[in-house]
Amino acid sequence: MATDVGGLSAAGVTVRNLHRSFNRSGGVLNGLDLDIAPGEFVALIGRSGSGKSTLLRALAGLDRDVEGYGRISVPEQVSVVFQDSRLLPWKRLLANVTFGLEGRDAAERGLRALTEVGLAGRESAWPAELSGGQQQRAALARSLVREPQLLLADEPFGALDALTRLQMHELLRKLCAVHRPAVLLVTHDVDEAIVLADRVILLDGGVVATDLRIDLAQRSQADPGFAGLRHQLLDALGATGEHLGSDFIAPGQRRAS
């Protein structure tokens, strides 16, 4: 799976002509090309069912049974953060974070990672004793303790409330500044994408339909450029009005034809 394309991408991501399909009726990914530079933060948006998770799983190497072809090259060290924290319920927090780590300093590194995500002192708690946001932070710690060159995250904050989500944004940005992994973050939230990413790409029809570099001076909604970007992306998503997807039927209306 981790074959190098031309041997040039050392720590970045290169995807060429990626096809994936689950059934004969049509592909989910249809010849997708994507490059992510080392240390670059890319947010991936797209309508539900557009293939975001499919792409992410392909990059994570979790789609061995899925039909398709194409070339993928990813760095050596890849970490995945799932939508659910996926902490093993029978392991205490520290053991969860260091799960699979080898070396005598594993515990020490785990503790440091827990401190980084603000969970110092909770290392012997059971996962069931943590709140949703805390569990997700622990999952983040588990990913970061491996010093990944690529961090793949599939809607990691999807289940969190708005305030916790903002705190997680802050945390993620800080951690990325320190560890400098390349990041591919799948999100439903256009604002989240703009605030966090260096680049926002939009998946449609199985290819990258929009690729937008974010050059805001300040990473917040207060930036004057924010509204423009937001509108542009929402437009591309088709969320601003007439074309809410072919399945959409406005309340009180019958489907024509």
């Binding site: 996926r86 059971w126 069931a128």
Partner: protein
């Protein structure tokens, strides 16, 4: 001056700690009762004592507890009761250990590999349909009527629940954990030890509880066959001489075995599965 007076006034008013809360009708069983485990058996014993005292339970029907105690003493000092107890205990432990190991190993193989399942699962299901006790005549023909037959029967009878429940537990492990382990580049051995075994542990322990009871059942039956020692042997002799009180001593011992063994497994269960927060509490 004024400030101290004020302080004192505040302190004096403090201790009204109203506790007004809205509490929902409880549907779970609620918090644990201390010594709950002993209440049922103690109640049973009390009924026996009172029944015998009042003559409600006639001595010919069921020997009175104090006579059982006396008989116990007699057997202990004159008929090597301790030897019988250890003989029975030895059989059941041996058989149970063998059965547990075999059931667990088979469940692991058939739970983790498709080929293993194809080979193992079918025969086990067939074996399950045949009551082990019906196989005893065959075992007698194969292994004779000695210890070997007894231990094998107990092992076979206790293997089945271990296999079924462990296999079930293994298959019930969330596939997402396997996915996680894959993304963490976990080695197979580590995966087995840290994901598969803990995930299958609840099923295994449930199986063990059934297996303990099954092993007891097997013990009672095999000890009817030409035993020279053991509780079953003692009871068979007593039956020939019509000594009801000795039979009751044997029954009480069997009951005690089963009860304590189950208690032990449950204790292990509680300790080992403390991460689970279910109705167990």
């Amino acid at each position: 001056m004024t400030s101290t007076a004020l302080d004192r006034a505040v302190v004096a008013e403090e201790p009204t700690r109203d506790d007004v809360r809205v509490v929902r009708r409880q549907l779970g069983p609620g918090p644990r009762i201390r010594f709950a485990f002993w209440i049922g058996p103690a109640l049973l014993l009390a009924i026996w004592v009172v029944g015998s005292l009042t003559g409600f339970i006639a001595a010919q029907v069921l020997t009175a507890p104090w006579d059982v105690v006396k008989e116990f003493g007699d057997q202990w000092s004159n008929h090597d009761l301790l030897g019988n107890i250890t003989a029975s205990l030895g059989r059941v432990c041996y058989g149970l250990a063998l059965g547990t190991a075999a059931g667990f190993a088979l469940a692991l193989v058939s739970g983790l590999s498709r080929l293993g399942e194809a080979v193992i699962d079918g025969p086990i299901q067939i074996k399950r349909a045949i009551p082990t006790l019906a196989l005893i005549p065959l075992f007698v023909a194969w292994f004779g009527i000695g210890e070997q037959m007894k231990i094998i029967t107990i092992a076979l009878i206790s293997m089945i629940p271990i296999y079924i429940n462990t296999h079930n537990g293994l298959r019930g492990i969330d596939g997402r954990y396997a996915e996680l382990a894959e993304t963490l580049d976990i080695r197979r051995g580590t995966f087995l030890r840290h994901v598969v075994l803990p995930g299958a542990l609840p099923g295994f322990l449930l199986g063990l509880r059934f297996a303990v009871t099954s092993a007891m059942l097997g013990l009672v039956v095999v000890e009817q066959y030409n035993s020279l020692s053991g509780i079953g042997h003692m009871m068979t002799l007593a039956q020939e001489y019509g000594q009801t009180s000795v039979i009751v001593v044997g029954l009480v011992l069997y009951g005690l075995y089963g009860f304590l063994a189950d208690a032990a497994v449950r204790l292990v269960e509680r300790k080992a599965l403390s991460w689970r927060r279910t109705l167990e509490g």
